[in-house]
């Protein structure tokens, strides 16, 4: 074990690896701090280049971006009241009053403390749990993998949207896009509508970039403008460390971390859900309850610890089972599979040292984030007040050119534009886009596993007689029925789920 650790840290401390880790953390802080950008868009833009790198370096860059953005999103939240990413929504609630009082630095230090706390625990969870989960999954065959893939997509549909039916529509759309082209067993083309360009299928990378990045660019001009003067008035120098603030925040950070570790490992739940639950948990303790308009350091620590722990623990199902936790993990999975790495049980055999190297990279990224995060507090007011139209123009060109560079094909650029418009339309119809992106990545593999599993088990009865498969599929059915069942119960009690949602919003 010691030798393996030494090898892993040796690889992660190589100058080139360190450069990717540092670049990833800086890019992550920047992407998180720019309202309208976010880590998913940055990773989507970088995806065509990452797949040309050594797999370790690509993973380092992407995981470091996630880690950097985990703190970067708090910078505009505290300074100008705009969450860098949706998971920082409650950091605005808890941190903006500090920014308004000129104590933004104090709030950001607590945010950095919470983020680091959550990340370190998440990294430890990854390092200790990923190998056992990989070992467990090595006992799985086609039917179990099909069931897991369906579970991932269903969980995303149930947890990422306002209704299960809309989430399921998103999953079905993603699956159907993934199934365009040759059938994985016979090679027979499907869903091509007679278009020759579709005979080979729709390339996953450009389609993902359209769904996850281009759609955000289409929406980005709508981000509320920030007055440069206003942001600079709240600008702060490097803040002093106050140990009492950290003492007050340690308990909430631990609570948030616990929530984040559990939520992050569930496919589809993601950091936003984790931060909402942590905020709610922290607010039930009387002495942590915020005074109206005063902000709350414990709440900042809890929400930031939970979203960061969730972001890191979400990598466990991504690497061990090939089931991504959130859209950023979908891009990591896409990068790995495009490079020919088969995640899950085969990963331990095909790339035995990779998981250790990833753990070491995550740990080093978290350490780098403490230093780089602290140094980024001072210039962050400039990021947060960058003109949105400039960001829209630059990212639009970066996305389109990056997609073209992927295979030097204008067809890919059209695919990106098409899926970007699809994502926009889905958003307008109240459908979450992330489940569609997940289905786009998993759909083809799910079909292949289902059909090979049916051949292997001699039909549906044999397929369903496998205990693990049956158990997972029962969970899938329960997930699908939970939403409608709760809605019926609420309706019978004389109120609608919408009322509950409104109350939750009011509370927040």
């Amino acid at each position: 074990v010691f030798d393996q650790l030494l090898t892993a840290f040796g690889a992660a401390l190589h100058p080139a690896a360190l450069a990717f880790l540092a670049a990833g953390v800086i890019a992550g802080i920047f992407l998180g701090a720019m309202p309208g950008l976010g880590p998913t868009m940055g990773m989507a833009i970088a995806l065509p280049f990452v797949i040309r790198l050594e797999p370790e370096y690509g993973i380092f860059l992407f995981t470091a971006i996630i880690i950097g953005a985990g703190f970067g999103n708090a910078l505009p939240a505290v300074l100008v009241g705009i969450p860098g990413t949706p998971s920082a929504l409650l950091t605005v609630e808890a941190g903006l009053p500090f920014g308004r009082r000129g104590e933004g630095g104090r709030a950001l230090l607590v945010s950095l403390f919470g983020a680091t706390f959550g990340q370190f625990c998440g990294v430890l969870a990854f390092a200790f749990l990923v190998s056992p989960v990989v070992a467990l999954s090595s006992k799985f065959l086609f039917p179990e993998f099909f069931a897991l893939e369906v579970l991932g997509m269903t969980a995303a549909a149930a947890l990422m949207g306002s209704s299960v039916s809309r989430g399921m529509v998103a999953v079905l759309i993603g699956c159907l896009i993934a199934l365009v082209g040759p059938d994985p067993v016979t090679g027979q083309p499907r869903l091509t509508f007679g278009v020759d360009a579709l005979e080979g299928g729709i390339e996953t990378v450009p389609a993902l970039i359209g769904l996850l990045a281009l759609r955000e660019i289409f929406l980005s001009p709508a981000t509320p403008p920030v007055s440069t003067a206003d942001a600079r008035r709240r600008a702060i120098r490097l803040p002093r460390i106050n140990l009492r603030d950290f003492q007050e925040s340690t308990g909430p950070a631990a609570v948030g971390t616990g929530v984040g570790l559990v939520i992050g490992a569930l496919p589809g739940a993601g950091p936003t859900t984790a931060s909402f639950i942590s905020y709610r948990l922290v607010s039930v303790f009387r002495r942590w309850r915020r005074l109206p308009g005063q902000g709350s350091l414990p709440a900042i620590a809890a929400t930031d610890a939970s979203q960061n722990a969730s972001g890191t623990s979400g990598l466990i199902p991504t690497f061990a089972l090939g089931i991504p936790g959130d859209p950023a993990d979908v891009l990591i999975l896409a990068a790995l599979t495009t490079q020919g790495l088969i995640v899950g049980p085969n990963l331990a055999q095909s790339s035995p040292g990779l998981l250790g190297v990833v753990s070491a990279g995550l740990l080093i990224s978290s350490i780098l984030m403490v230093v780089l995060g602290y140094l980024s507090i001072w210039p962050s007011s400039v990021f947060a007040s960058a003109p949105q139209r400039l960001i829209t123009y630059a990212t639009l060109v970066a996305v389109m050119t990056g997609v073209y560079a992927y295979r030097q094909s204008l067809v890919d650029v059209w695919v990106t534009l098409g899926t970007g418009l699809l994502g926009l339309a889905m958003g307008k119809a109240g459908m979450p886009v992330a489940p569609a992106a997940l289905a786009l990545v998993l759909g083809s593999a799910a079909e292949s596993d289902l059909r090979r599993g049916l051949i292997m088990t001699d039909g549906v009865v044999g397929f369903l007689s496998r205990p693990v498969t049956l158990t997972i599929l029962i969970v899938v059915v329960l997930l699908l029925l939970a939403g409608p069942a709760l809605a019926i119960l609420s309706w019978l009690r004389g109120r609608t789920p919408v009322d509950d949602e409104s109350r939750r919003s009011e509370h927040v």
């Binding site: 039916s165 981000t223 389109m400 459908m431």
Partner: protein, 159 residues
């Protein structure tokens, strides 16, 4: 029933029906499994039709919260959407025109033109910025993609 469900439900049903029509005849290829190449796509397309119907059904009963719309984490807030409509539409049109221009005019001309048209359309006032930003951005992207990454970007009229 909210307006977006009134529109989205029938659209989802229509897409599902179009896909089922495309998958109407089973290809004659030897298959070992009971599903075959069209089995799963048919199930998913039928699922799309049923989901579209499910989106419309709850609206048939009296809805005391009519007018209130729950927001998914992905959906943009109402206030943002009201503000966004016009700039988002401008960005969509600009993106489509940019893809067409990339093919015909090449990377340099298309990227500069995009900046010259998009920046003022999104509210840029200073002509100095409107002229300088597209030129600087194009140069930066050209250096990154063409020089550093050796990508053969589209050229003017394919020359």
């Amino acid at each position: 029933m909210s307006r977006r469900v009134r529109v989205a439900g029938p659209v989802v049903i229509a897409i599902g029906l179009v896909l089922l029509f495309e998958l109407r005849s089973t290809p004659r290829v030897p298959v070992e499994d009971p599903l075959g190449p069209y089995g799963l796509p048919r199930v998913l397309a039928a699922g799309l039709v049923l989901s579209g119907v499910a989106m419309l059904i709850p609206a048939r009963r009296p809805d005391p919260s009519a007018g209130l719309e729950t927001e998914s984490p992905d959906a943009e807030p109402n206030s943002r959407r009201r503000l966004a409509l016009s700039p988002s539409a401008i960005t969509v049109i600009a993106a489509a025109c940019y893809v067409i221009a990339l093919n015909k005019l090449g990377f340099i001309v298309a990227t500069v033109l995009l900046g010259l048209l998009l920046l003022p359309a999104l509210g840029a006032k200073s002509w100095r910025s409107i002229m300088a930003i597209p030129l600087v951005m194009t140069l930066v992207f050209l250096l990154v993609f063409s020089v550093a990454l050796d990508v053969h970007l589209p050229t003017f009229l394919g020359r």
